[in-house]
């Protein structure tokens, strides 16, 4: 028997199969006998080690992590929601700004009667009263609402955008 064949048979014997002719070869070949002896020693050492025992809490920790994970919104959904909210905030900001500019433009373009100017000068009426008389009540309320809307839009936009670019916790 050639040594190459003997080596294949050694593996087969280690796997539990019969290896016909191997013992005869080992008895006559010092190199293969030495190799077999080393393989057997390694085999014996490996056989001393049982399966490692997992810690008792392993299963409960896995379950706990799955529980935590199931409560989290998936990353792609979170990103989609943020992008959608940022888009809504941006549209709101644009509309509010347009309303603000449009409202004041209306006020400034409105004609004011001479007598009304006199009453303002003499403190007979307030500015809102003057504007109300000049351009109607809607035109006065418009810019005030617009200012409020712009402020809200800025807060909305800031609340969405700033946390997104803030550094994340490493924990």
């Amino acid at each position: 028997m050639q040594c190459d064949i003997a080596r294949i048979l050694m593996d087969e014997r280690l796997d539990g199969a019969v290896a016909p002719g191997l013992d005869e070869h080992l008895a006559s070949c010092r190199g293969c006998a030495s190799e077999w002896s080393k393989l057997e020693a390694a085999e014996r050492l490996l056989a001393t080690q049982d399966m490692a025992e997992p810690p008792a809490h392993l299963a409960s920790r896995v379950t706990h992590r799955i529980e935590l994970e199931s409560r989290l919104i998936p990353d792609w959904q979170r990103t989609l929601m943020q992008v959608a909210l940022i888009a809504v905030g941006a549209v709101l900001l644009a509309l509010a700004t347009a309303a603000f500019v449009h409202g004041w433009a209306q006020v400034l373009r409105a004609p004011v009667a001479e007598g009304q100017v006199d009453s303002v000068i003499h403190g007979a009426g307030k500015l809102s009263g003057l504007l109300a008389e000049a351009v109607g009540p809607d035109a006065v309320i418009w810019p005030l609402y617009a200012v409020l809307a712009v402020a809200l839009a800025i807060v909305w936009f800031g609340a969405l955008v700033v946390p997104r670019f803030a550094p994340r916790s490493t924990r």
Partner: protein, 208 residues
């Protein structure tokens, strides 16, 4: 349909209790594979948890024609290989870290337990010295008792590749063991055990 298939089907349908039962059933093989691949209990526990989580997330893509155990071990093996590669990338010097010695439990025969600890250390050292791909086939063959075709399925290689790797791995183990034993014979004592803990430890104390 056997009980395992039923559990897997229930888990796939979103039954978390069913998955929990699968975790209970497979925690030992998954942990053992991670432990033998990574060489220490802390990493093995982290890797086992991660492997189960990955399996849970991937349940939808699980192919029912494949044994669940093979699929799960495959996920674990790939995760361990990833960790070992990351570990290589972040290798740091262990010189500054404290070394540890094994302390036998009082209830066990001290001589016997010292011998077991010595064997465990030697096995861990031998496995650590093997290339990852060799280590994987050795662990799957010797501890998980898988045949060549099952190992091939776990690692995604051909049976002949598995056979060839195991052949080389056995010779490398045998040569390393003979060399270590030769060193013992020459020096009259065993080479020092590297830092990193021990599977059979009952307690670990800093070396005095």
């Amino acid at each position: 349909m056997d009980s395992e298939t039923a559990l897997v089907d229930s888990a796939r349908a979103g039954d978390r209790d069913a998955f929990e039962q699968l975790v209970e059933a497979y925690s030992k093989p998954v942990y053992n594979l991670a432990f033998r691949m990574l060489g220490n209990g802390r990493d093995a526990e982290d890797a086992s948890q991660e492997a189960f989580l990955r399996a849970y997330r991937a349940l939808g893509s699980y192919d029912r024609s494949r044994p669940f155990s093979t699929w799960l071990l495959s996920i674990t093996a790939h995760h361990c290989i990833d960790r070992l590669r990351r570990r290589k990338g972040n290798e740091i010097s262990l010189d500054g870290l404290p070394t540890w010695r094994w302390v036998p439990a009082a209830t066990i025969d001290p001589e016997r337990s010292a011998e077991r600890a010595d064997q465990a250390d030697r096995v861990r050292q031998l496995l650590d010295d093997l290339p990852e791909s060799y280590r994987l086939v050795v662990v799957l063959r010797y501890w998980h008792d898988l045949g060549y075709s099952e190992i091939a399925s776990v690692i995604g290689e051909s049976e002949s590749a598995v056979k060839s790797r195991l052949h080389r791995a056995r010779r490398q183990l045998a040569a390393a063991l003979a060399e270590a034993d030769g060193a013992i014979d020459r020096d009259g004592e065993r080479a020092p055990v590297p830092a990193g803990g021990n599977s059979q430890c009952n307690a670990i104390l800093p070396a005095s």
